[in-house]
Symmetry: C2
Subunit: 270 residues, 2 copies
């Protein structure tokens, strides 16, 4: 048994989301089915760094799984891509220690959200960019977004369907720029963790600020309010991309594991 980490890219359009669900095809299911075929019928669980919703895309989702035999990563990469749907690409595979965990070890994520302000939307981007044909002021949005940088309680920006009780997260970067190449607006969010629908509610609220429907200092008020009803709408999933998941390096992970082991041993002694 060998544990592998893989970086996955997918077009979320045909899926109910990353995670296996009863109501339709998921990315996780397709990845697991590929491994099932490769290993001649062994059920192998694929663990993601977190869920992505229906229609949400990824350029850098990270997963881990245990493969029954040690396999060269190049061969694993080629074989897995060959048996997995065209809408999913495994970008890279690497061997990791048997205690590595895609979700527990994740220390940060980068999300992107694309918005098209053109009067008429591009026929090529129906499922890949939010069409928002209004004279939205992105510098105003960018100014407003600076208030969310730092450690705050983001309860106002979390779906009420969550099972979380701690709403404190740290955002290291929140910005919106005009992409020169495409003429589209692109939101970038980097943080140590994101609540359910958090990026989409931040974008939905920002667009209302950009449209002049809310004041520029609105984010400060919303952080204090801690009430989902006070924030703006949840922007659609199809504009959102999980770009990258950040992990501590191997040395730090080993150190963290040693600390945890020592802590557990001390607990057992006492």
């Amino acid at each position: 048994m060998t544990r592998y980490k893989a970086v996955i890219e997918y077009d979320g359009t045909p899926y109910v989301g990353f995670q296996v669900q009863k109501n339709g095809p998921s990315v996780q299911e397709s990845l697991q089915h590929g491994l099932y075929k490769m290993s001649k019928g062994q059920k192998i669980n694929v663990h993601g760094s977190g869920r992505t919703d229906s229609g949400v895309h990824a350029h850098g989702q990270v997963v881990h799984f245990d493969y029954p035999v040690a396999m060269k990563t190049d061969n694993l990469l080629r074989a897995w891509n060959a048996v997995t749907a065209d809408s999913i690409r495994i970008r890279s595979v690497s061997e990791v220690e048997e205690t590595f965990h895609a979700r527990y070890h994740a220390q940060g994520k980068h999300y992107r959200y694309w918005v098209d302000l053109a009067k008429f939307p591009s026929p090529f981007q129906t499922n890949y960019v939010l069409h928002h044909p209004y004279p939205c002021d992105y510098e105003r949005m960018n100014q407003a977004l600076q208030a969310v940088v730092g450690e705050h309680n983001f309860k106002s920006f979390c779906s009420t369907k969550t099972d979380k009780t701690n709403f404190v997260r740290r955002i290291d970067k929140a910005q919106v720029t005009l992409d020169e190449h495409t003429g589209l607006l692109v939101f970038d969010f980097i943080g140590n963790g994101f609540l359910y629908n958090m990026v989409r509610i931040l974008v939905g609220t920002s667009l209302q600020i950009g449209d002049g429907l809310r004041p520029t200092d609105e984010m400060i008020r919303l952080i204090a309010a801690q009430d989902r009803n006070e924030a703006g709408p949840t922007a659609p999933g199809h504009g959102l991309y999980l770009e990258e998941v950040y992990y501590p390096n191997r040395k730090t992970r080993d150190k963290q594991y040693a600390q945890w082991l020592a802590y557990r041993q001390q607990q057992e002694k006492s």
Copy 2:
């Protein structure tokens, strides 16, 4: 009755091609159906600058049509986009003289063809870029392509299914570059006219040159051969985009029309 010219963008994936056909949905049919709805049930023909094949895309297809009443172009644009499929966008509409013809007046076209040399294809580009995972030498292709620039007989690069008998066309630009932004190869062809499948056969042959399967001076031999069987395969339609159609300006068109009228009158006299 007022004649309008329109620039159209479309994702060719769901269509059998630009032109109305019995075996499936076409871009022309969708555009005509939109005008039918707008004009409360009048059948209005939409004339394209030329056909595009199944799966072929366009950023700048040009059409003309006669609308029963004069309508402000802004209103026409908004209404037509509202009743036309998401995979088609009307980019602009302008009023033209009643003798303007999208096909007869076209004096040149610009086609693009996108190729991805990556080992594993992007899940977002299955229908939009040709995946060609080989160590293809684009500088070699570019060198080879310079032989097709100029006026030549392109019979070797024309599908045998054509009804044309004159195979002489002029190519003003033929190049392939590495797009820095996407890392993809992009072929550009500008010429006064293109035969059936001509761009796709030029690309299919170029890729064989890039792969080292044919010599660099192959295009010279193929132009002389005038035999479709000597050239390479027809590259798939989904990598191809009609970027722009060129027209003479209004003054030149009026002059051309006056010359034609004078010619006809002289013919009638004699």
